[in-house]
C-alpha cells in the first residue's frame, strides 16, 4: 500500500554542492494572504527559511504571527498565495507537510488528564513512529528535557516550564525537519528560557533542524539568524539582527531634565543631531555616545540658561528601536490592542 514517492526537494542542489541542505529553503512563502471575512490577518507576505536556519518572526501580538504559523501547519487554509514546506504545498500535500513539522503552540496542547508518558505515546501513534523505536525515543527526549522522574505524573500537576519542556520533547519525537515554535518562552522563568534556547541551538547544530519561531521578546529575537519584523499583517523588514540594527544606526542618549521641550530645541539647533521627546525622556541619536555625552553634560546648562541634566542613560540600538523606527510605535504600546485583535480573530477564525 505504501508507495513512497521521491520528494522534489532540490535533489539537484544536494548533488551539485555535495553538502546537503545548506541554503536549501525548507519554507517558501509566496505572497501569502489570510483573510477572516473582512479582516486581513496576513497581507501578501513572502519569505524563505533555509534548512538549519533559526528564523524569527518578531512583532506585537495580533500582527499575524500565529495566523502565519497556523497556515504553515495546515490548520488554516491560505486565502491567497502559497506556502511550501520542503517543496510540498500545504494545500496539495497537507499530510506530507504535517509529517515534516514539529510544533510547539503558543497555548497548551497537551492532554492534562494523561501522564507525560501517555502524551508522548499518543504522539508516536498519530505520527506513525516505527513501533520498535518508540520507547527509546520517548525515554531519550524525556531525559533530555529532564522530565524522566515525572513521566508517570499527570500533566495537570506540571508547572508551566515543565509543560513547555514536555511540548518541545513531544514536538521532536518524529524528528521533524522543521521545528515551529510559537512564542516558545512566554511565561517562563529566565532559567528555563535559557535552557530552552541552549537546546534549540544544539538541535540545529546536531540535526540541522530548521527553526521557525515567533516572539515579541526583543532579547529573544537576538538569538535568530534572521528576523522578519511583521506588523499589521505585513513584513516591514527582513534581515539579520545586526543588519536590522544598522537601520537605526546610531547610539541613543536618553536624558531627563526639568524642561525637556527647551532641551530638545537647544540640542537640535546647536548640535544638528536627531532629537525628540519620547515618554518623558529627551532622546538623542548620535554616532558615538561615549564622546558626545561628556560634551553635552558640560555645555548644556550654559546653552539652556541653567537647565541641568538629571539622569542620563546610553543605549545601543535594539530591535525594539528598529520596530519603532519602522512602525512608529513600540511593541509595548501594542500590548493593549492585542486582546481586542485576538478577540476579533477568535470570533472570525475560530483560533
Amino acid at each position: 500500500m505504501t508507495t513512497m514517492t521521491e520528494a522534489p526537494i532540490r535533489a539537484d542542489a544536494v548533488l551539485a554542492t555535495g553538502k546537503p541542505a545548506a541554503g536549501v529553503p525548507i519554507i517558501q512563502v509566496d505572497h501569502l494572504t489570510k483573510k477572516f471575512e473582512d479582516f486581513t490577518a496576513v497581507n501578501d507576505i513572502s519569505f524563505e527559511v533555509k534548512e538549519g536556519e533559526i528564523f524569527g518572526f518578531l512583532g506585537p501580538n495580533g500582527a499575524g504571527k500565529s495566523t502565519t504559523i497556523k497556515t504553515l501547519c495546515t490548520l488554516l487554509q491560505p486565502s491567497g498565495g502559497h506556502i511550501r514546506v520542503g517543496g510540498f504545498d500545504v494545500q496539495d500535500d497537507p499530510d506530507t507537510v504535517r509529517s515534516m513539522i514539529g510544533i510547539v503552540f503558543q497555548d497548551n496542547s497537551l492532554d492534562s488528564d494523561l501522564t507525560a508518558q501517555e502524551n508522548m505515546e499518543f504522539h508516536c501513534m498519530v505520527y506513525h513512529i516505527p513501533r520498535a523505536e518508540r520507547a527509546e525515543r520517548i525515554k531519550r527526549l524525556l531525559d533530555l528535557m529532564e522530565l524522566t522522574e515525572f513521566k508517570d505524573r499527570r500533566v495537570k500537576t506540571f508547572s508551566g516550564g515543565m509543560r513547555r519542556r514536555l511540548e518541545i520533547a513531544r514536538g521532536l519525537l518524529h524528528e521533524p525537519r522543521l521545528l515551529v515554535l510559537d512564542e516558545p518562552t512566554v511565561g517562563l522563568d529566565p532559567q528555563t528560557r535559557n535552557y530552552i534556547w541552549q537546546y534549540v541551538r544544539d538541535l540545529r547544530q546536531v540535526h540541522h533542524t530548521a527553526i521557525f519561531m515567533t516572539t515579541h521578546y526583543m532579547d529573544e529575537a537576538e538569538n535568530c539568524d534572521r528576523i522578519a519584523i511583521i506588523d499589521k499583517g505585513q513584513i516591514v523588514a527582513l534581515d539579520t539582527p545586526a543588519e536590522l540594527k544598522k537601520m537605526v544606526g546610531d547610539d541613543q542618549i536618553e536624558l531627563t531634565t526639568r524642561d525637556n521641550a527647551r532641551v530638545v530645541q537647544v540640542i537640535a539647533e546647536k548640535y544638528q543631531v536627531p532629537v525628540e521627546e519620547r515618554e518623558g525622556h529627551v532622546v538623542i541619536q548620535v554616532p558615538s555616545a561615549e564622546s558626545f555625552a561628556p560634551k553635552l553634560l558640560a555645555e548644556l546648562p550654559t546653552l539652556t540658561g541653567g537647565v541641568t541634566i538629571e539622569t542620563l542613560h546610553i543605549r545601543r540600538p535594539t530591535l525594539e528601536d528598529v520596530f519603532l523606527k519602522l512602525t512608529g510605535r513600540t511593541i509595548r504600546e501594542e500590548e493593549g490592542a492585542k486582546d481586542q485583535r485576538k478577540l476579533n480573530l477568535r470570533r472570525l477564525g475560530r483560533i
Binding site: D93, D95, R98, M125
Partner: protein
C-alpha cells in the same frame, strides 16, 4: 555544522494500517480518561435508580391503561427508554469532550498530525460509543430487579444494538460539538438536545399516544428507532419494524459522519 546527509522527504501516502492505529490511538485516549473518571460510570447506576425505582414505581399506578403499553408492566415498558437515556447522556458527554479539546488546545495536536480527518472522527465516535455501551450494560444489570428475564442471546443482541445506537448518537454529538466554539456547558446540550430527544423518543410513553403535531419529530429522532429496537428485544414489541430501526440508525450514522467530516475540513 552537521555533515551527515538529511533523509529525503517522502510524500505521505494513505495506508490502512496507519489510519487504524490513529483510530485506535484516539479511542484509547478517550477510554483511558473515561476509566479514570469513575463518576461517569456512576451515571450509569444513578439514572436507572432514579427512573425505574423512583419515577417508574410512582407513575405506575397512574398509568392504568395497560393496553397502550401492550399489556406490559409500565416499568418494564420504560426500561428500554431508560437505557436510551443512559446512552444519549453518555454519548453527548463524550462528544462534548471535543469542545474541551478545542478549548484546552489538545485538538490542535490532533489536527496538526499527518492523519486523515475521517480517522479522527471515527476514533472519536468509537470512543464515545464504547463509553456509552459500558454505561448501558450497567443499566442492563437492573433488568432482573424489575422482573425482566433476558436470555444470554438477548443480552448479546442488546449490547450490539446499544453499540449501534451509541454510534449514531455520538456522530450527531460530534456534529453539534464541532459547531460549538466555546464551552457553553453541558446544560445547553442537555436542555436542547438530550431532553427533547428523550421525550420525543417514545421512551417513557407509547408514541401512538403523542399528538399528531409531534409525530414528525418522533419520526426523525434517531433515539425513537434506538429505543424501539431495544424494546423489540426486551419485551418483544415495537412501533416500527426491527429492520427499519436498524436501517434508520445505520443511515443516520453515515450521514452524520459525512457532515462531521465536512465540518472538520472547514475547521
Amino acid at each position: 555544522m552537521a555533515t551527515q546527509s538529511l533523509p529525503t522527504v517522502k510524500r505521505h501516502t494513505f495506508s490502512y494500517s496507519r489510519e487504524l492505529e490513529v483510530i485506535y490511538g484516539i479511542w484509547l485516549r478517550d477510554f483511558k480518561k473515561f476509566w479514570r473518571e469513575k463518576s461517569r460510570l456512576w451515571g450509569g447506576v444513578a439514572r436507572p435508580i432514579l427512573w425505574l425505582v423512583i419515577l417508574g414505581s410512582s407513575l405506575k399506578p397512574v398509568v392504568t391503561d395497560n393496553t397502550l403499553t401492550g399489556n406490559v408492566d409500565y416499568i418494564q415498558y420504560i426500561f428500554p427508554g431508560v437505557i436510551g437515556l443512559t446512552l444519549i447522556f453518555a454519548t453527548m458527554q463524550s462528544a462534548i469532550s471535543i469542545i474541551w479539546d478545542r478549548e484546552f488546545g489538545f485538538l490542535k495536536e490532533v489536527l496538526a498530525a499527518p492523519v486523515s480527518r475521517i480517522s479522527i472522527i471515527i476514533g472519536k465516535v468509537l470512543g464515545g460509543a464504547t463509553q456509552a455501551t459500558l454505561q448501558g450494560i450497567i443499566t442492563l444489570a437492573f433488568a432482573p430487579l424489575i422482573g425482566l428475564r433476558l436470555t444470554p442471546i438477548a443480552v448479546l443482541e442488546l449490547i450490539v444494538i446499544m453499540f449501534g445506537v451509541s454510534f449514531a448518537l455520538t456522530s450527531l454529538g460530534v456534529v453539534i460539538a464541532s459547531r460549538m466554539t466555546s464551552f457553553e456547558g453541558f446544560g445547553t446540550i442537555s436542555n436542547f438536545v438530550v431532553m427533547p430527544m428523550y421525550f420525543l423518543s417514545g421512551g417513557i410513553y407509547p408514541t401512538s399516544s403523542a399528538p399528531e403535531w409531534m409525530q414528525p419529530f418522533i419520526a426523525i429522532n434517531p433515539l425513537s428507532y434506538g429505543v424501539d429496537a431495544l424494546r423489540h428485544i426486551t419485551i418483544g414489541q415495537g412501533t416500527f419494524a426491527f429492520g427499519l430501526d436498524v436501517a434508520f440508525l445505520a443511515g443516520f450514522t453515515v450521514v452524520m459522519s459525512m457532515v462531521a467530516l465536512w465540518l472538520f475540513k472547514r475547521e
